[in-house]
């Protein structure tokens, strides 16, 4: 924040000349001081001349400022040939009178020195060159060569002091290159004279991999980026990666994009990941990280977006062939120009330079989706303390550009002592989504599982899914969760078969028991009918007996009446009946 606010104020006080070199103008907040000399120093092979020449060429080509280059070491032809590899056509610019090259050749053996002299000859030459084309920019490429050529250093120092003052008076913006010294910034202490702006270039080798770095040592009257910045010299010239942006103010998109695997989208709240977020896919070897990355890229291309795939393990052709086997056709998209695959060896250059290269590639291609497969290879040669800030720079940059990114990362094999959660050297904290792929080995087979370890800002499933690669593509399958644990692969299939058999059996059992119940009910019913019939029969018997007895009584009464009538007197009869 602080650095961002100040340039406007500083720019008001100190006019600057843009170098046109990607990144350098950002670090210096606008360029080198206008109308003043700037010292660029570094050891052999640091790219001093390239940087200085690019300053001139860009000035002539992009800013309409003509330039003079005075070389003390290389001839014009050599220089022209050297910068042609950067895509700069010096011949053309020289022919157009936009750049003037002057080779100052001094050979100690051709000189004899007697008495007093000064370097007016050099001044006149330079002045003449500046006037000839109306130059605004001047490069003095290793003026220190004069120290080797002229034995009288006392005169030389006095003259150099005068030269730099003279350059300031002429109002040209000068870049002076100098050799890095053992104890001082430059071998001959040029920094004493050129004190306005000093840029240090450095070329370090760590773990057999060299990295170029740039640092603005001093810049009078303005703030500037203080750090060391990796830079790269490629066929577009010098590019510095000014990844100071520790500001966390990138926009956050609410748009969601698909990962290309529907079930995985389901696991991430049904809609996939946020556009512009970073996704880490980590796992042990052979868990399908690259396949997920490839699917992601393919999905982007199918949506008509541009995708960039950085591959550090396989060549482009190999990736395309291999991905065909799981139904991912990348070739088609490459031909359409939607997909670009950058394959390179991780050991080709240092991590920083890989990042610079990625930065350039991203700026050049402007993709919507970037996949890096894998980042763990990049970090292989570096210690962890370096890796995090550099990766953070890359991730920050990609986020700022609103590019959705997939990084794959290799974790140790199954027997690793660290848990997979701890194996990501702090990179994970930079990631928005982390998918973890694991191998689970059971019953003599390995199966892939996947789960979402984290997904910032989205609902995500806590379930482990089985992850299958087939010729139809990537499929996620529910794993079997049961009393005996999580089962995958054929164990899951066996378990599922067992379950379905058991279910069938249960159904049969139920039917049987229902049938039993029905027949029992029938039996009971028939019993009831029998008993009822029995009761009916008994009732009938009882009624019969009752009726019989009534009849008998009636008959007896009749008899007694008859007897009484026969024996005479009604009353007696009545009395008799009553007695009885």
């Amino acid at each position: 924040m602080k650095q961002k606010k100040q340039p406007e104020r500083a720019a008001a006080t100190l006019p600057k000349t843009p170098t046109g070199i990607t990144g350098l103008d950002e670090i210096t907040l606008g360029g080198v001081p206008r109308g003043r000399p700037t010292l660029v120093c570094g050891g052999a092979g640091c790219g001093k001349t390239m940087l200085a020449l690019e300053f001139l060429v860009r000035g002539a080509r992009d800013f309409g400022e003509r330039g003079v280059c005075m070389m003390f070491e290389e001839s014009a032809d050599e220089l022209t040939a050297n910068v042609r590899s950067l895509g700069f056509d010096l011949d053309k610019l020289v022919a157009q009178k936009k750049i003037l090259l002057d080779h100052v050749h001094i050979e100690r053996s051709e000189f004899e020195e007697t008495g007093e002299y000064n370097l007016d000859g050099l001044f006149i030459r330079l002045g003449h060159a500046i006037d000839t084309i109306g130059a605004k920019r001047v490069v003095l490429d290793t003026i220190e060569a004069l120290f080797a050529g002229l034995p009288n250093h006392a005169i030389l120092r006095a003259e150099l002091r005068r030269l730099f003052r003279w350059l300031k008076e002429r109002g040209v913006t000068a870049l002076i290159t100098g050799e890095r010294g053992e104890s001082s910034v430059t071998r001959y202490g040029l920094e004493e004279y050129v004190a306005d702006c000093v840029i240090l270039l450095d070329h370090r080798v760590e773990g057999q991999i060299s990295t170029r770095r740039l640092r603005v040592l001093k810049y009078r009257g303005t703030t500037h980026g203080m750090n060391e910045y990796p830079f790269l010299i490629n066929d577009h010239g010098v590019s510095v990666l000014p990844i100071t942006s520790l500001r966390l103010d990138h926009k956050a998109s609410a748009q969601r994009i698909s990962t290309g695997i529907p079930r995985l989208d389901d696991m991430l709240g049904g809609k996939g990941v946020f556009s512009g977020s970073s996704v880490l896919v980590s796992g042990s070897p052979g868990t399908g990280k690259s396949s997920i990355a490839a699917k992601f890229v393919e999905a982007a291309c199918q949506r008509g977006e541009r995708a960039l795939l950085f591959a550090y393990e396989e060549s482009a052709a190999q990736i395309m062939r291999n991905m065909c086997s799981i139904g991912i056709d990348l070739q088609k998209h490459v031909e359409k120009g939607l997909l670009r695959i950058h394959s390179s060896r991780p050991t080709l250059q240092g991590l920083e330079q890989h990042l610079v290269m990625m930065h350039d590639a991203v700026c050049g291609f402007r993709p919507d989706v970037v996949a890096v497969d894998p980042i763990s290879n990049l970090t292989f040669e570096n210690n962890e303390s370096e890796v995090k800030p550099t990766l953070m720079r890359l991730i920050d940059f990609l986020k700022k550009e609103q590019i959705t990114t997939v990084f794959t990362s290799l974790t140790g094999g199954g027997g690793a002592t660290v848990s997979p959660e701890d194996s990501q050297m702090g990179v994970s904290s930079l990631m928005d989504v982390w998918l973890l792929l694991r191998n689970s080995e059971l019953n003599g087979e390995r199966n892939r599982t996947v789960y979402v370890l984290k997904a910032r800002g989205t609902h995500h499933s806590n379930q482990v899914r089985e992850f299958r690669l087939g010729n139809r593509g990537i499929e996620l399958v529910d794993v079997y969760l049961g009393a005996s644990g999580v089962l995958t692969g054929s164990a899951r299939i066996v378990q599922e078969a067992q379950e379905s058999a058991a279910a069938t059996l249960r159904t049969h059992n139920h039917e049987r028991r229902l049938r039993q119940l029905a027949s029992k009910r029938k039996a009971v019913e028939s019993e009831i009918a029998r008993l009822k019939a029995e009761a009916d029969a008994e009732e009938a018997e009882v009624n019969f007996v009752i009726a019989q007895e009534l009849l008998q009584e009636k008959a007896a009464l009749q008899n007694s009446k008859t007897l009484a009538a026969l024996r005479g007197g009604r009353g007696e009869n009545t009395r008799l009946v009553k007695k009885s």
């Binding site: 002057d102 100052v104 050749h105 001094i106 051709e110 000189f111 004899e112 020195e113 007697t114 008495g115 007093e116 002299y117 000064n118 370097l119 007016d120 000859g121 050099l122 006149i124 030459r125 002045g127 003449h128 004069l146 002229l150």
Partner: protein, 104 residues
């Protein structure tokens, strides 16, 4: 700029010398005086001197790779030799011009 030496009429001067200066400074005057004296002493009749003022013809500085002034360039005989400074040390100038002193 005209060769001041009267011997210039000779078809070929054995020693063709060029003195580069920047303006009429005391240093350039001294150099020219020293040179003339030296030539008359040791190379009488076989030299030609051309004085070039770079303030007037700056484009000539690149041709002979002139950085310091004054610079004396021996163009002939080959190879080209250069002596920088005000030529005050006669002995070193003679060594530089590869000339045997006429008399010691």
């Amino acid at each position: 700029m005209n060769p001041p030496a009267p011997k210039a009429k000779r078809a070929v001067a054995a020693f063709e010398l060029r003195l580069y200066v920047a303006g009429q400074t005391s240093k350039s005057q001294a150099a020219l005086t020293n040179l003339k004296r030296l030539c008359e002493t040791h190379l009488a009749g076989q030299y030609r001197i051309e004085v070039i003022d770079l303030l007037k013809t700056p484009q000539l500085a690149a041709g002979d790779q002139i950085l310091a002034v004054p610079t004396l360039v021996r163009r002939l005989p080959e190879p080209i030799k250069k002596i920088i400074g005000d030529l005050s040390n006669e002995e070193r100038v003679l060594v530089g011009l590869d000339v045997q002193p006429a008399k010691s």
